[in-house]
Amino acid sequence: MKHYVKMVWPYVIWAALIVVLPLLLIILYSVTKSGNELVNIQFTLENFKRMTEPVYMAVFVKSFELGILSVVICLILGYLLAYFIAGFQEKVQNLLILLVTIPMWINTLLRTYAWISLLSDNGLINSFLEMIGLQPLNMMYTDFAVLIGLVSDLLPFMVIPIHTSLCKIDQSLIEASMDLGANRFQTFWRVTFKLSIPGVLNGVIMTFLLSISTFVIPKLLGGGQYTLIGNLIENQFISIGDWNFGSAISVILAIIILVSITLMKRIDKDEIEEE
């Protein structure tokens, strides 16, 4: 065993270089003044203070609203889909899961453009509505468009962990529940759902993480003035060039995500110990 431990070192160094180092740099940027040079660093909390300005707070609130809403929609749709898939024989299940993951192989940008061609003012849906004599709808650049884009993007990340935990459920527990007088509905809530909670939490964490940091979808489907945290960070780094403020936002976002994950893991434990 000792032998192999040595062989791990190159990977540790590699991981440190590509993950830890940039992270440290971002933290460093977030607590320093702009225009610094390495030899003469000036520390400040100014960047964090700036975030409390109403404009930025509004962005945070909006991002969270949208993030939570898309996670909830993903959870409902994803659970139904995962449950439906888990009802088939194994071979069919594998095929269906493959189908669910196919969109993940396609670039987010392309998928988002596909949504644009469906939702835009003279896109497919409106052409169809016109054809059957209905008023066209204004869908692009609305919360609705962003939500559709987000949900379709995130759905596989919800379906897969839930499906995995549903598959792991010992069938004899379901039988035991029915044997004890619980009908299908009662068995679902009292046994199946309880046992799938780890998958649900994984899915929720994953989709929340992705939705809160997204920037391509709100940009393309929400239009130029539609700003979420992801867009804010992107703008600071790319168009405005204020790396220090951008870093501070990233750090706050990372902390929020970490705290949410920890809270959810705790719910997981309580949920299981309760009853």
Binding site: E175, A176, S177, M178, D179, L180, G181
Partner: protein, 353 residues
């Protein structure tokens, strides 16, 4: 015996083109401890699952108090199961596992508590209410599983090899305890095992199965002393099984000699099989016996010696407390009622003729 509570009528079950049950007819009575006994794959679990409602029979009926229930879902049957792997709900403590069925019935909280506590006491798990079921020993989990089923006061308790995962000592203890519990609650137990000793020591009725067919139904004494065919005789403990000819009532011929026996009702000169239990054979001086041979081996088995005596036609297995030197010339005797005549088995179909 008391009233019939469950009647299986011509029960068959196919999985694909494999016929697992081939026409099971069986009456199960109130307060009966009935054991389904047979080798692995003979269809014991399938029979139990049909009674519980987890499988639908391909043909035949399950009558419960005279009403066909083969289409009734499991949660509407007055039957509860103790699963082989216990199948306790891992996210609930002992109390909540046991209370599960009562909570589903929306019973009053105090009543639930009263019943759960009473049942936990019955299975010897007082004070375990708050324990995490995943951290219990196998024997304790077993008791929780039994309590979880019994608390619902079913008319019938189904037990699928409930002692299979326990070590030999605990198994013995649980056998005694299960029997005691059954007598205390006074309901029907349908018990599945492939351990013949377990079946004989616990049951009122033993049902011996082989390849989806019932071979014999009887009391443990019947099954042991009067096996109906070679399969039953060999499955219920070690035996000497000998091909023989029934000369006429009470006279059977094998190994060149005719022997008096107590069996009647076979055709004259019918080909039969004879079973003689190893403990029913006496070893005597050669001149006092028809069958003669040499001691081939002797093994001490704790209480008795297991002796193999080679004779002209076959080896005989004998259990005795006495010691005989290997190589010794001996004679073998047995009384008329030690000879059990059986129908010869048709091995092609796996059934008795």
């Amino acid at each position: 015996m008391s009233d019939v509570i469950i009647e299986l009528k011509g029960l068959s079950k196919n999985f694909g083109d494999q016929q697992v049950l081939k026409g099971i007819d069986l009456n199960i009575h109130e307060n009966e401890f009935l054991t389904l006994l047979g080798p692995s794959g003979c269809g014991k679990t399938t029979t139990l699952r049909i009674i519980a409602g987890f499988e639908e029979p391909s043909a035949g009926e399950v009558l419960f108090d005279g009403v066909d229930i083969s289409k009734v879902p499991p949660y509407k049957r007055e039957v509860n199961t103790v699963f082989q792997k216990y199948s306790l709900f891992p996210f609930m403590n002992v109390y909540d596992n046991v209370a599960f069925g009562l909570k589903i019935k929306k019973m009053d909280k105090n009543l639930i508590e009263h019943k759960v506590m009473k049942t936990l006491k019955l299975v010897g798990l007082e004070g375990f209410e708050k324990r995490d079921v995943t951290k219990l020993s196998g024997g304790q989990q077993q008791r929780v599983a039994i309590a979880r089923a019994l608390v619902n006061e079913p008319k019938i308790l189904l037990l699928d090899e409930p002692l299979g995962a326990l070590d030999a000592k605990l198994r013995k203890e649980m056998q005694v305890e299960l029997k005691k519990i059954q007598q205390e609650v006074g309901i029907t137990f349908i018990f599945v095992t492939h351990d013949q000793e377990e079946a004989l020591s616990m049951s009122d009725t033993v049902v011996v199965m082989h390849e989806g067919i019932i071979q014999q139904v009887g009391t443990p004494e019947d099954i042991y002393n009067e096996p109906e065919n070679r399969f039953v005789a060999s499955f219920i403990g070690e035996s000497n099984i000998i091909e023989a000819t029934m000369i006429k009532d009470c006279l059977v011929a094998f190994d060149d000699y005719e022997f008096e026996c107590v069996d009647k009702g076979f055709k004259n000169n019918e080909a039969v099989e004879v079973v003689i239990r190893p403990e029913d054979i006496d070893i005597v001086k050669p001149k006092n016996a028809k069958l003669r041979g040499k001691v081939k081996s002797i093994i001490f088995k704790g209480v008795h010696h297991e002796i193999v005596v080679g004779t002209k036609h076959r080896d005989y297995l004998i259990h005795t407390t006495d010691y005989y030197e290997p190589g010794l010339d001996v004679g073998l005797t047995f009384g008329p009622d030690d000879i059990h005549v059986m129908y010869r088995m048709d091995w092609e179909t796996g059934g008795a003729e």
